[in-house]
């Protein structure tokens, strides 16, 4: 009896420890993001006095930093570019990934194994940064939006994931359509794709987040200021000594830190909007399992 009671107590202590550590880890993630938000709405007087607080007084907040950033051309233009690249790029990613994955899912496709090896090798070895840059430059893509889309058009991993998904669709459905005279393309369009919405959504969302967050491609390939995507301009805003190029005039009415953090928030909002959808597709473990298979 005594033993039982002591076990109960240690169990409770264990639980308390578990919940405490989990709460702490959530706080460690939330607090910095919250602080970014708070700095972005801190006016000059308050910043000069406190240097930023976690809980500003509601009467002492201002959205001036957002107004200033959005009334200049730089950040809104970069936002537009990123939206364009994300939408158009993801669409092309999905079309070409699907077209490559579908034939590879068919057991009677003769070139299936050679092509799979052809893809797998690129997952293990690549030519490196400089030769890739030379290829893109030789194709005349420097300073073109296509340079942000074509080099990453198809992810080998995603082809393998999609192929595994297609393989799990029962063959009978395709055979029935084939007997009715449907071509391979018609089968893919009318039968396979409607059944593949979950995988298309998952892979599409991951491609889209990749485009939205991509930074280095533009550093390599984009020269004109008005073609730069959001992450590049955000990085400039975070690193610049003064922000005269990014806000209209009289920027001294807002602290540089507030403007910087407001730019961070603006860049993050689209990700926060799709995050609930992304979360529905958290099946990384399952995905990895299907690659191994």
């Amino acid at each position: 009896m005594a033993l039982y009671r002591s076990m109960g107590r240690s169990e409770k202590l264990w639980d308390a420890g578990v919940y405490l550590l989990l709460t702490l880890s959530a706080i460690v993630v939330i607090v910095p993001i919250w602080y970014v938000l708070m700095i972005s709405i801190t006016p000059f007087e308050v910043w000069a006095r406190t240097g930023g607080t976690l809980l500003p007084h509601p009467s002492e907040i201002t959205f001036e930093a957002y107004k200033q950033l959005l009334s200049s051309w730089r950040l809104p233009r970069a936002f537009q570019v990123s939206v364009f690249i994300t939408v158009f790029g993801t669409l092309l990613n999905l079309i070409f990934t699907t077209m490559m994955a579908y034939p590879l899912s068919k057991k009677n496709f003769r070139l299936r194994n050679p092509i799979l090896l052809f893809i797998l090798f690129t997952l293990l070895f690549n030519g490196g940064l400089v030769p890739t840059y030379i290829v893109v430059r030789n194709l005349g893509l420097i300073d073109s939006y296509l340079a942000l889309i074509l080099p990453g058009l198809i992810s080998g991993f995603n082809v393998l994931i999609m192929k595994a998904f297609f393989q799990n669709i029962p063959d009978e459905l395709e055979e029935a359509a084939k007997i009715d005279g449907a071509s391979d393309f018609q089968v893919l369009w009318h039968i396979i794709l409607p059944l593949s919405k979950p995988i298309l959504a998952t892979i599409g969302l991951f491609y889209a987040v990749g485009h939205w967050n991509s930074f280095f491609d533009a550093i390599l390939y984009i020269r004109s200021a008005d073609k730069q995507p959001l992450q590049v301009v955000l990085r400039e805003i975070l690193a610049a000594g003064n922000l005269t190029n990014y806000v209209p005039v009289e920027h001294e009415t807002m602290p540089t830190e507030s403007l910087r953090m407001a730019a961070v928030v603006i860049s993050t909002i689209p990700v926060l909007i799709v995050y609930p959808f992304l979360q529905r597709h958290f099946t990384a473990g399952v995905l990895l399992g299907s690659i191994k298979e």
């Binding site: 993630v29 993001i33 077209m99 092509i115 939205w212 955000l234």
Partner: protein, 323 residues
Amino acid sequence: MQAKVQTQTKPILRGAVRASLKALTTELRKNYMLYIMVLPGILYFLIFRYGPMYGAIIAFKDYHIQEGILGSPWANPWYKHFKTIFESTYFFNILTNTILISIYKLVFGLPAAIIMALLLNEARITWFKRTVQTVTYLPHFLSWVVVYGIAQAVLSPSGGLVNKALVALGMNPVDFIASPQWFRTVIVASDIWKDIGWGAIIFLAALTGISPHLYEAAAVDGASRLQRIWYVTIPGIMPVVVLVALLNIGNLLNAGFEQIFIFYSPSVYSVGDIIDTWVYRQGIVGFQYSVAAAVGLFKGVVGFILIFGTNWLSKKYTGSGIW
């Protein structure tokens, strides 16, 4: 008998060729749409994945833009650029930085993700568990530039949370991101902050695969919860732990290019300059294409060997590998 076989060979061969040609045409006629569908993908991989592999031969040439890959003269001796690299002390500096940052990320990041998964697995209240998951998975989807902004808010000497705490405790503020003493810590910590939740997912998936009977049996035998974790859970997820560690070792020379490129500055080159950042500065910014390509090729070959080597070791000792 022998002669008979020989005389028959030719017609048999001819027949085989004719048969396989016929099989090819029927295959093409039957599946031509599949070939059309796969063609753009093949072209993409040839141009953008295999093209750079071919282009990597400039590591053995004196590449000039005007002359192109084929037209540029071969380096003399052919290993000239590799000699330059291996004789430079700075190369060993960046190699050390790369490997150290990778190892720190593995040594601290992997246990952190495992512990996160174990904690989430121990939490019984569903809404609480879900909430913590939602919160800790989020940073994975933020860009490194955004994380850099967040790091400024936390670490900057003017108004950064950590420095405010230091000042409140009577200490001097530290410019963590620009300080050679702190740079690697900042890189490893921000990497863990970003991906601890995401990294836990794969272990959580492995945890659900452990049979509940094992836990029941352990409980009947009077095992405490810590003992159950030690004797049932950890062995249960060990294969996945090995797998993830292997993948990381295969990526030893990838210390996190984009992250470091965004966080670093000349003041921390001594501890934070890695192979990739150096290749970018030498090759793209400094136009030393061949030397940079040689370093890139070195990195690619070592990475290839590492992934094959670790996979082979894993298959030998644990019975399963990455493929």
